[in-house]
């Protein structure tokens, strides 16, 4: 019980402190970290719990971003509309992707998700009338909630923090529920799952659609941080970046996703002013994580905590 209170209180206190103390740039940066964190967490459900290696996750995230941006340009930036269109798009794209890719496994899945994701990218890149093509979409209205306009960095940060909290609770309840256990079962021993009467497709499809909904929710808010959405947010390199964030943060822990996105974006944002070799740093951090902490920083922190606790006891 004490632990549960701490789990709620600590992030809430951190978010409140950040909202009060940080400057506009940092708040927007944190909002981006949180939104990417949500998307990476949804990828963790696929990779960490389902063993489904996807290189097309940015298509769900970015596709939802486009849908939300287009809807907002048409009907205004109401948060419910934006989130609704993003989540719906994420789920529809995930369902389409699922129908195509989930009959395959391993490397086939990797390549099929890549192909599917790149097809979404091609559409975003070439359908100039709707998506703005290579230049992307600008001129989005600010987000609004009833009579309030949520255009300040602080409001965006708080919205992202709230969404991250909700997404985390949703994600956790999913993996803890029977469906989540079944997902782990399909990863560990798919044939046994079939012999127990589980439909592998049904289990994986549900996980993918949920991941699409979460990534879609994050993607829906993403364009409003910078009032811009472009095809790079759909590109497979974005998917690869999400995988990197996931691995650095920790596969299979859900909350590691947020650490991973913070570390990756932190390196990219702060290190690149000092050295052109920041990609080398990302690569080294990534490889060292795989070699030394196969379950990422999250597992490292857990080991550290256990050690401290043992010493304290």
């Amino acid at each position: 019980m004490k632990r549960n209170i701490a789990m709620v209180a600590l992030p809430a206190a951190a978010a409140a402190a950040a909202a009060l103390l940080a400057d506009d740039f940092v708040l927007r940066f944190l909002a981006e970290i949180l939104l990417f964190g949500i998307a990476v967490m949804s990828l963790d459900i696929l990779i960490g719990f389902g063993g489904l290696m996807s290189l097309g996750h940015a298509a769900l995230f970015g596709g939802a971003a486009y849908a939300a941006a287009i809807a907002a340009r048409q009907w205004g930036g109401d948060v419910a509309l934006v989130l609704g269109s993003g989540i719906a798009t994420g789920m529809v794209l995930a369902a389409l992707m699922g129908v195509v890719v989930l009959r395959s496994g391993h490397l086939f899945l990797l390549i099929l998700t890549l192909l599917m994701g790149q097809m979404v990218w091609e559409v975003a890149f070439h359908w100039r009338e709707v998506t703005g093509g290579a230049d992307g979409l600008r001129g989005l209205p600010a987000l609004s909630l009833g009579p309030w306009t949520l255009s300040t960095a602080r409001a965006l940060f708080l919205l992202a923090a709230l969404l991250a909290a909700v997404a985390f609770v949703v994600g956790r309840s999913f993996v803890a529920a029977p469906i989540g256990r079944a997902l782990v079962g399909t990863r560990e021993e798919p044939i046994r799952m079939a012999a127990l009467g589980y439909s592998l497709f049904a289990v994986r499809f549900r996980a993918l659609v949920l991941a699409g909904a979460l990534a879609g929710a994050a993607g829906a808010l993403f364009p409003f941080v910078n009032l811009y959405v472009g095809p790079q947010s759909v590109h497979w390199t974005q998917s690869a970046a999400m995988v990197i964030m996931l691995v650095i943060g920790g596969i299979g822990s859900l909350w590691g996703a947020f650490i991973g996105s913070a570390v990756y974006l932190g390196i990219q944002t702060y290190l690149s002013a000092y050295t052109d070799r920041w990609q080398l740093c990302v690569g080294l951090v990534f490889v060292l994580t795989v070699l030394l902490l196969p379950n990422g920083i999250a597992s490292g922190l857990r080991i550290l905590r256990d050690r401290l606790r043992r010493r304290g006891a």
């Binding site: 309840s173 256990r181 079944a182 079939a194 009467g197």
Partner: protein, 249 residues
């Protein structure tokens, strides 16, 4: 006696190799049938065909009077057909309780539940613990399967299948690699639970087959070459030549 399983003219080829040819026999309700034959006789292939992991090239299969041809494995399980595998197929990373609960939840129709899943999960866990207790493994409930002995894994594997309350349970070499004591314990568990379950059992240990089965089916090179009560099979000349002779003598 009504048949729970009816096989008619089942055939399966891998390229030029005929793994099964015109296989036909029945398993009655609550009956225990032994399936024996030398290596390569097609016993495991037949299991895979019956449970839907392989598509037969010809023939038909009926479960409880209804055709199950073309059904996916999961659909056959839903109709009361369960199986174990030659090597214990369990979830090594999960605890014994979680392994069995996975089966219990699916059987209760809660396998894919999310909302209200907590209640379903705790009910399933309770049943799983009870089953483990019945099998004398209560103290191992929270142990991950990868840390368990071969025999214990076999038992958990069988418990998972039994948790589905199947009408017909296919057991592929359930006692392979077990000590005598472990084998007896496993068979005891099966016997206790199988009042309403028919068993189709592959085993290399002739004593087990002849000691526990109501009827025995003998296969060789993909064909059924004899069947009957253990006593009848023991007397069958062709069976003796093909199988008993080669292993017994």
């Amino acid at each position: 006696m009504t048949a729970i399983l009816e096989l008619r003219g089942v055939g399966k080829r891998f390229g030029a190799f005929s793994a099964l040819r015109d296989v036909a026999f029945d398993v009655g309700e609550r009956e225990t049938v032994g399936l024996i034959g030398p290596n390569g006789a097609g016993k495991t292939t037949l299991f895979n065909v019956i449970t839907g992991f392989l598509r037969p090239d010809e023939g038909s299969i009926r479960l409880a009077g209804q055709s199950i041809d073309g059904m996916a494995p999961a659909q056959r399980v839903a109709r009361g057909l369960a199986r174990t595998f030659q090597t214990a197929m369990v979830f090594p990373g999960l605890t014994a309780r979680e392994n069995i609960a996975m089966a219990v939840r699916q059987h209760a129709g809660d396998g894919l539940r999310w909302f209200g899943g907590a209640r379903a999960a705790s009910a399933a866990a309770e049943i799983a613990v009870r089953l483990l207790g019945d099998a004398g493994l209560a103290h191992r409930a929270e142990t991950p399967l990868r840390d368990m002995s071969h025999g214990e894994r076999r038992i958990v594997d069988a418990l998972m299948s039994l948790a589905l309350s199947p009408r017909l349970l296919l057991l592929d070499e359930p006692t392979a690699g077990l000590t005598r004591a472990e084998s007896d314990r496993l068979l005891g568990i099966l016997r206790r639970n199988h009042a309403d379950t028919a068993l189709l059992l592959v085993a290399h240990d002739i004593d087990i087959v002849f000691g526990h089965c109501d009827r025995v089916v003998v296969m060789e090179l993909g064909r059924v070459i004899g069947s009957g009560t253990p006593a009848e099979v023991r007397e069958d000349a062709e069976v003796r030549r093909a199988y008993l002779g080669s292993t017994g003598g």
